[in-house]
């Protein structure tokens, strides 16, 4: 190959790669930033006492309680912020019963492409179990689903912040 062609090719390739790298860094910067969704907070049904007054938490009347329990268990749901990743957005809803996390429901999961759907479908149940066990958003990464994990936990944390947990 002629020197001019060689140099031209090397320079052009480096240029293209640098542009790609720069674009990638910008994308990365934006993916980790949680963008608050318009429905944040407003969608929560904080304070409403729905159901479970007799079933969960034991009844206050029948047994002479050894521990002082409140009259009825308090259940509320909090919707986390929607977090955008390059594979799609992630949003969860956290159910809090008597100050503990009783359930996490995924409202949105990464769905840009077939592989993302497969990955997030695998990761979501694992993350749910871990959050329930740890009672916080500080749980370990699901390998191979880093984007989903980070977005999922960010959304969980924002819901917990609303719940004041």
């Amino acid at each position: 190959m002629r020197t001019r062609t060689l140099l031209g090719s090397i320079l052009a390739s480096i240029g293209v790669l640098v542009v790609g790298w720069q674009a990638g860094t910008t994308v990365l910067g934006t993916t980790t930033v949680a963008t608050p969704s318009s429905s944040t907070g407003g969608a929560t049904t904080g304070g409403s006492t729905t159901g479970g007054s007799t079933t969960s938490g034991g009844s206050s009347t029948s047994s002479p309680a050894a521990t002082p329990t409140s009259a009825a268990s308090q259940t509320a749901t909090y919707t986390g912020t929607e977090v955008n990743t390059r594979f799609g957005s992630v949003q969860v809803q956290v159910t809090v019963t008597d100050g503990t996390i009783s359930d996490v429901t995924a409202l949105k999961l990464t769905d840009h492409d077939g592989k993302s759907v497969q990955i997030s479908n695998r990761a979501a149940p694992v993350l749910r179990e871990e959050v329930l066990a740890a009672q916080s958003a500080s749980v370990s990464n699901v390998s191979g689903a880093t984007y989903t994990t980070q977005a999922y936990l960010t959304s969980v944390q924002s819901a917990l912040d609303q719940a004041g947990l």
Partner: protein, 467 residues
């Protein structure tokens, strides 16, 4: 060795071939740069969609590498399609045969990259989800469009393996070509999974737009220049066989009639792909050079029955419909880089030289011709060449006889012993463009000799007549 010299007073017609070559070389350089940049762009696509953050764990790093190899491998395959599309710009600047040489060279790397793509993703995804790569195949096949992609890879392996020199030799050209056409199917089958499963090419990304453009460019140029244009040109010029005239034992000139043939804009020395529509010959097209410049209503090619296919076309009846693709090739005065021309032809290789000499514009004394034949029977069209050389003021030498048995030489034993050499025939060799056309063995010997004499490679233009 005999000499027929005609040297009228030297005219002052002057075209700056060096400057024209410099321009052509710049475009050729740009094409090469674009090729390498497209490979880099494939990597950049991946970087742009997440950068180095995708190499944080072993599984992820392997997956990321798998995606990159897939992107670069596919880019190479698309480049191969572009190179094989016979795009006029590429043929004019780097030449069809050099483009095809690059096409052949890219085949194996592209296949290795795509194989690596498959294996790395199986391993990478396997590690991520905690199962072995073989079990991961099942989970992969459950993804949309992945079964097609697996078939595509299988087809691609078939295409590349049948193109290995050792394997290709066992096939007839037609059989091999038929298998080779599967590469279109392979590329088409691999497309859906790139867009439905590739996170890099997800909907709404700039990467997706670029990739679609690249695919459209590759398939579009194949469709345009390999299918649409030949059909349009053939229909427009209505070429038919006007007569077949024997030139020598086993060699015939096929005279053709047509309409507006000058508009084909063929340069002397170029070739067309010819297809003769008779029951036994329509399925095979032949690359054959013009042996005379076309008039508006007639053209001529001269063929020797080298293969079974050529023998059949030397017997086509008058009136046979002919379709063409072309003109192709840089074996013409358009490729000149230097002030003088040194032209060598052996055997049936004289045909493009005959047309080039007729078409090329050069001042008297600027061109020198050496005609070579194994025996007096093989001096095809020599009378015509001599007549043109005389009329245009080119020196014309001839050399008849078997090549010397000992040593790699293109000369006869007798001439070698007499001390004939390249520079004795072409005194201004290093100031010349050397055009060589003939059978492979002879041509190799000439090329070696020319390089030994110190001729820069861009001044050497050769056309192989073997097949």
């Amino acid at each position: 060795m005999t000499t027929t010299t005609a040297r009228p007073a030297r005219a002052t017609v002057h075209v700056d071939h060096r400057r024209r070559y410099a321009r052509r070389a710049r475009i050729a350089d740009l094409i090469v740069v674009a090729f390498w940049a497209s490979g880099a762009a494939a990597i950049a696509l991946f970087l742009a969609s997440g950068g180095a953050g995708q190499f944080t764990s072993v599984g992820e790093a392997i997956t990321s590498l798998g995606i990159v190899t897939g992107l670069v491998g596919t880019d190479y395959v698309l480049v191969m399609l572009v190179l094989a599309a016979r795009i006029p710009l590429i043929d004019r600047t780097i030449g069809h045969d050099r483009a095809m040489a690059v096409h052949r060279k890219l085949g194996k790397p592209a296949l290795y990259l795509l194989l690596a793509h498959g294996v790395l993703l199986l391993v990478g995804y396997g590690i991520s989800s905690g199962i072995d790569p073989i079990a991961e195949i099942g989970s992969m096949l459950a993804l949309p469009d992945l079964p097609l992609a697996f078939i595509a890879l299988g087809l691609l392996i078939t295409v590349v393996v049948t193109s290995l020199v050792a394997v290709k030799r066992k096939f007839s050209y037609e059989g091999w070509h038929l298998v080779h056409l599967l590469s279109y199917v392979a590329v088409a089958f691999a497309l859906p999974h790139q867009f439905s499963n590739g996170g890099v090419l997800a909907e709404g990304t700039a990467q997706r737009v670029y990739w679609i453009a690249l695919t459209v460019l590759a398939f579009g140029s194949i469709l345009t220049f390999r299918f649409i244009e030949p059909v349009v040109v053939s229909l427009r010029h209505r070429i038919r066989v006007a007569g077949v005239v024997p030139v020598a034992p086993g060699v015939v000139s096929i005279h053709l009639s047509g309409r507006g043939l000058r508009a084909l804009d063929a340069r002397g020395g170029q070739f067309f792909q010819w297809r003769f529509w008779t029951g036994s010959t329509w399925w095979h097209s032949h690359p054959i050079s013009l042996s005379a410049m076309p008039t508006d209503s007639s053209a001529r090619i001269t063929v020797r029955d080298l293969g079974a296919g050529s023998a059949a076309i030397s017997a086509v009846p008058t009136g046979t419909v002919v379709s063409i693709e072309g003109p192709y090739g840089l074996f013409s005065d358009a490729a000149r880089t230097a002030p003088k021309m040194a032209i060598m032809a052996a055997g049936i290789g004289v045909t493009p030289v005959r047309a080039m000499l007729e078409h090329a514009s050069f001042a008297p004394g600027e061109a020198t011709v050496l005609l070579r034949a194994g025996s007096e029977d093989e001096t095809y069209l020599w009378d015509e060449v001599r007549a043109i050389a005389q009329a245009k003021g080119a020196d014309c030498y001839v050399m008849v006889g078997e090549r010397a048995r000992r040593g790699a030489t293109w000369m006869t034993q007798h001439d070698r012993e007499r001390g004939v050499s390249l520079t004795s025939v072409f005194p201004d060799l290093l100031d010349s463009d050397v055009y060589v056309c003939g059978p492979s063995g002879w041509l190799d010997a000439v090329e070696a000799d020319v390089k030994r004499a110190g001729l820069p490679s861009h001044q050497l233009h050769s056309e192989r007549f073997d097949w």
